[in-house]
């Protein structure tokens, strides 16, 4: 089966988030970068599905040129192809991000293998669907046409990005392509009939049976991602990363600033050191009503 996984480069924030002096971004001068945890699990899930059913895994990211590092990390886990939808470092909202992903996954269908780096479809002439216009009549369905040309059986996402936590790119892509979509999945089985996806909901389990192709977003815990193998890392280092240049656009939501919530830094009252602190700890638990 053919699977595309979308990942996002995010800073490793560790113990503290620092905002840049202009209040517009997270200060990343001292941090490394990674992909969001849910997405690393999405890549692992895709690699396992392909190991079981055959096929290949393409990994996509939208981000600055340096996001190629994260694509290589995912190639080292077993993805076979990597595409960078390159930005100028500006933050993209979920609507524009979904549009760029839709253009990529359908554009690849329009131009299979004839060119190693397919040109970006011209939005004025290509059949690449725009996100649905609420005022438009539902009669012609570009989404259905796009889905029938889709070279993937499964599009995998993380449930939400670690930084912006928008919870919606997967769903928007599914609507644009006219595909079924399930989110927050913790267990995924591909069957002859399609896929069975499960997730937790308030102490119960929800089960969804869906046909393929489909869009699925997963959560950490669906699997335990492997460590990259040495051959995997070498292959990733040599791999070609395909690059596109999608166009940013505004969507009506404008960030005016970022700030760390007040009250972040207090100082714990120290009860003591080592086992000597146990009487004070017991007294505290008693005072808090925990021992009654």
């Amino acid at each position: 089966m053919e699977i595309a996984v979308c990942v996002k480069r995010v800073p490793m924030v560790g113990g503290k988030i620092v905002v840049t002096a202009d209040g517009q971004d997270v200060d990343t001068r001292m941090s490394g970068f990674t992909v969001s945890p849910h997405e690393e699990c999405a890549v692992e899930e895709a690699v396992r599905l392909v190991e079981r059913h055959g096929g290949s895994v393409a990994v996509l990211t939208l981000g600055p040129p340096a996001a190629a590092d994260q694509l290589r990390d995912m190639l080292a886990l077993g993805a076979t192809r990597a595409v960078l939808l390159e930005t100028d470092g500006r933050e993209w909202g979920p609507i524009a991000t979904a549009e760029a992903i839709v253009a990529e996954v359908t554009g690849a269908a329009a131009d299979p293998a004839t060119s190693p780096v397919p040109a970006l479809p011209d939005p004025a002439t290509s059949p690449v669907p725009a996100l649905p216009d609420p005022a438009a009549s539902p009669a012609p369905d570009p989404a259905a046409a796009a889905a029938s040309n889709l070279p993937y059986d499964l599009l995998l996402f993380g449930n939400e990005a670690a930084d912006t936590g928008d919870y919606q790119v997967a769903v928007r892509v599914a609507h644009a392509l006219g595909l079924p979509c399930v989110t927050g999945i913790k267990n995924l089985e591909v069957t002859d009939a399609g896929a069975r996806a499960k997730r937790e909901y308030r102490g119960t389990e929800e089960v969804f049976d869906i046909p393929l192709p489909a869009v699925v977003s997963v959560k950490e815990g669906i699997n335990l991602p492997r460590y990259p193998s040495l051959p995997g890392r070498l292959r990733a280092k040599r791999a070609t990363i395909e690059t596109r240049a999608p166009q940013w656009r505004a969507d009506g939501l404008t960030k005016t600033g970022l700030r760390v919530p007040a009250g972040e830094s207090k100082r714990a009252e120290i009860l003591g050191n080592g086992a000597d602190a146990v009487p004070a700890l017991v007294a505290l638990l008693d005072e808090l009503g925990i021992l009654s």
């Binding site: 909202g93 936590g165 960030k255 100082r267 086992a275 017991v282 505290l284």
Partner: protein
């Protein structure tokens, strides 16, 4: 202005706590001054003043509608009605649809929002709420702003929002200049508050116009509720991190949790190493906990972890490093090795009860 609020029902059919908070958020938004209210408030300041955050005096004459908050319930609304009234929903729409089908729910909300000319649609930022609102965003082509903490309409008619990033470790100030605003409410950022003088909620039936495709994805079965104390609702959580040292070190944490009537939770490194199952993870990509006491042992306090435990009433850290980030986020701390402190603590508690 009319603000639609998606209601999630508790197991008994009543309103889930997260939706009481969403209703409180929706009321504050409905009461905030939009452009038309701004003009009235300028000529008569009393019109713009709201003391309880409920449906105010100027809510009755907007575009001929009743304005205020309209709740949207899927299925039978009767058990939810008392709380809807108590939390200020003047109207409730009971959608004739059984079971959970996210796209169909979103289609119903889209129909209602158009019918009522809603200014905003809000839902709690739960798995269901986020999913349905994402579908609503995709159906309408409008932005959907996730995990808002506050929202108010300003004099220009735009929405001034504060929302979570990094699961609440960072706040974003933002302006949304399209209507209706589609917002989810951060689940633990808003306190639920009833209105001072509840009025009866008028319940209306609503039959959505659905395609087969809207019903393609639906939850087909829900297994039995898992038994035992759940991490999300436990009164006491004993947390273990890298400092536990390995998969064999959790016995004393389990023992202590048992003595305190609580459960064990762990940090992400513990689940990433495969020491404990992911369902025990506390954090941004695990479970959010809300205990009376969180005893964090051998946990450094990374952003990822703190996002899951900051709603704890009291945090007590046990850590060898007095400069670990957790020390500046906890209420109390013991500086020391959990492998010495915890066995002594277990002994002391046992001695006390015998």
């Amino acid at each position: 202005m009319t603000v639609l609020c998606l209601i999630e029902q508790a197991v008994d059919g009543g309103v889930a706590d997260v939706s009481l908070r969403a209703l409180t958020f929706a009321r504050a938004l409905a009461a905030s001054s939009g452009p038309w209210m701004y003009q009235k408030a300028a000529s008569d300041p009393s019109n713009g003043a709201f003391t309880d955050g409920g449906a105010g005096p100027t809510d009755t004459d907007v575009a001929g509608g009743t304005g205020g908050v309209a709740a949207v319930v899927f299925g039978d609304a009767s058990a939810a009605e008392p709380k809807l009234s108590e939390y200020g929903a003047g109207d409730a729409y009971a959608v004739e649809l059984t079971g959970y089908a996210p796209q169909a729910w979103a289609r119903a909300l889209a129909g209602l929002a158009a019918e009522l000319s809603a200014t905003a649609v809000v839902a709690a930022g739960t798995d269901h709420g986020s999913e349905v609102m994402a579908h609503l965003g995709a159906i309408t082509g409008l932005p959907m702003v996730a995990n808002c903490v506050t929202a108010a309409r300003n004099a220009e008619g735009a929405f001034e929002l504060v929302r979570h990033r990094w699961a609440g470790s960072l706040l974003e100030d933002a302006v949304l200049d399209v209507t209706p605003a589609l917002l989810t409410v951060a689940v633990d950022a808003v306190a639920a508050a009833p209105v001072a003088e509840p009025a009866a909620t008028a319940v209306h039936a609503w039959r959505p116009e659905l395609d087969d495709a809207d019903l393609l994805v639906r939850a087909t079965e829900s297994a039995e509720r898992s038994a035992g104390v759940s991490l999300a609702t436990a009164r006491v959580v004993v947390g273990g991190g890298r400092g536990v040292g390995g998969p064999d070190g959790f016995g004393v944490l389990e023992e202590l949790a048992g003595l305190l009537g609580g459960v064990v939770g762990v940090s992400r490194v513990v689940t990433s190493e495969g020491w404990r199952p992911h369902k025990q993870q506390v954090g941004q990509t695990g479970t959010r906990i809300t205990p009376e006491l969180y005893l964090a042992c051998g946990i450094s306090g990374a952003i990822q972890h703190m996002a899951g435990c900051l709603s704890s009433k009291h945090i007590v850290a046990i850590n060898t490093d007095p400069d670990a980030p957790i020390i500046s986020r906890a209420d109390y701390a013991v500086i020391g090795d959990l492998n010495q402190v915890l066995p002594a603590l277990v002994d002391a508690i046992r001695a006390r009860s015998s």
